[in-house]
């Protein structure tokens, strides 16, 4: 007759459990590292192309560009993989400077919204933007790219720098739909207020930090030797 002790199934040893987990983790690690190494250059190229597309979309006159990184309020030539505040300077076919494209990001309704926008230092205007990353609600938050009245804000959104070149002359802000009074204000989309506010906030933050640096280094940007971006 079996005793209660005999009916308890025998437990495998700890070594057996650990070695099983180690084996599975090893197979897992091998597969993950392999796919990471294989896709890394492809993903980097996709990101470069996405940035490239966005730059030429917001600076339609540009046919070539240079990438600069901000170092101690100076601009240093860089590439797209460089970490830090990147400034993309666009040049037309006559190698004339046509403006800069800058990154901006802020918390939207669901997640961080990232955009690339164009800034014309000569006029002090923000003249357009392209959304790099957004998971905003379809039909509401996504209207920032389709709503004609909202996009009209960016025919020339004033983002001039003060005479000391330390900050924006007037902080950019978003106003309630239909109550815009000044050229540095953004008229919000009715029903997409959170995303509209996020756009205003990110442009103000980015403008306060980067526009003075762009103005201080304007000569450097205008003289930059444009490279071909094929």
């Amino acid at each position: 007759m079996s005793t209660p002790e005999n009916s308890v199934p025998e437990l495998p040893s700890s070594t057996k459990l650990i070695s099983t987990l180690a084996l599975v983790a090893m197979i897992s690690g091998l597969l993950v590292v392999s796919i990471y190494e294989y896709t890394k250059p492809i993903i980097a190229e996709n990101q470069r192309l996405a940035t490239e597309r966005a730059i030429f979309k917001v600076l339609p006159q540009a046919v070539s560009r240079l990438t600069f990184v901000v170092k101690n309020k100076n601009l240093v030539l860089a590439d797209d993989k460089t970490e830090g505040d990147l400034i993309y300077a666009g040049y037309d076919k006559n190698k004339q400077f046509v403006g800069v494209a800058l990154n901006a990001a802020a918390q939207g309704y669901q997640d961080t919204v990232k955009i690339l926008y164009s800034y014309q230092p000569n006029t002090g205007c923000i003249t357009g933007f392209d959304v790099l990353k957004s998971t905003e609600t379809p039909g509401f938050g996504t209207k920032i790219t389709t709503d004609k009245a909202f996009l009209a804000n960016f025919n020339c959104l004033e983002a001039k720098v003060n005479s000391e070149q330390t900050q924006l002359l007037n902080a950019i802000n978003t106003t309630r739909h239909g109550s815009k009074q000044h050229p540095w204000q953004i008229d919000a989309i009715s029903g997409s207020t959170i995303t509209s506010n996020a756009i205003g906030r990110m442009l103000n933050q980015s403008g306060q930090r980067l526009h003075p640096i762009v103005m201080q280094n304007l000569t450097r940007l205008q003289q930059g030797t444009a490279n071909d971006t094929d």
């Binding site: 437990l11 495998p12 459990l17 993950v32 990471y36 609600t137 379809p138």
Partner: protein, 221 residues
């Protein structure tokens, strides 16, 4: 170790069960989080479906192949590691194929790891059956899951945007029902499909019962 079922030949039913009779969404109500979240367009539904099929098939195959070596005490941990591995593969692959698609699907690709359909099939089927049977069953289940996603995505995109796969179907006069591509639309469309499918099945069962009772009466008389 996990007990193994007596090996039986692979029948067509193993494959078709997941497609309709045991459809993971419409019958078993599994994996509803991505079903409701990403089905706002057919393309997103297809991408999520294909990603799920890949993870389901690969993880089931590996779980089945290792079933004699995995002690019962660490089986769930092991299954999660295996599933997470294949989800990571899918994650990097989608990034390599299209960044736009990757951004649209958001966190739901990574969340396939905790999709109860995949862990459920690993525990209930793959750990007790042969590799080939597990693959065939996973393929059927995955296709059934994709079918359900596309059925939801199709209705939501059509009514919510007037489009299918990005192509305009309705004229510009059509005012899109924006609610359909918002989260409530997911619940409405899923509920409507469930209602329709259950109604059709009930009618089918009713007809069968009526036919049976008619034949009984005929025999008695």
């Amino acid at each position: 170790m996990t007990p193994t079922k007596q090996s039986t030949p692979i029948s067509f039913d193993v494959f078709t069960a997941g497609l309709w009779k045991e459809n993971p969404v419409f019958v078993m109500m599994l994996g509803l989080c991505p079903v409701l979240a990403v089905t706002n367009s057919v393309l997103n539904s297809l991408a999520m479906g294909i990603a799920s099929i890949f993870v389901l098939v690969c993880s089931n195959a590996l779980v089945s192949a290792l079933r004699h070596f995995i002690p019962k005490q660490v089986r769930i941990t092991t299954y999660i590691i295996i599933i997470a591995t294949f989800v990571t593969l899918v994650d990097y692959t989608i990034q390599a194929i299209s960044l736009d698609l990757y951004n649209k699907l958001g966190a739901f690709i990574q969340l396939i790891v905790v999709n109860c359909l995949i862990l459920g099939r690993a525990e209930a089927y793959a750990s007790k059956n042969t590799v080939m049977k597990s693959i065939v069953s996973a393929l059927g289940m995955g296709l059934g899951f994709t079918l359900a996603l596309v059925m939801l995505g199709g209705v939501r995109e059509l009514l919510g945007a007037g489009q299918l796969l990005g192509y305009q179907i309705f004229s510009t006069q059509f005012e899109p029902w924006v609610v359909m591509i918002l989260p409530p639309g997911g619940f409405i469309v899923l509920g409507s499909w469930l209602l329709l499918i259950n109604y059709v099945q009930q009618r089918k069962i009713g007809k069968l019962i009526a036919m049976e009772s008619a034949s009984h009466c005929a025999v008695k008389t």
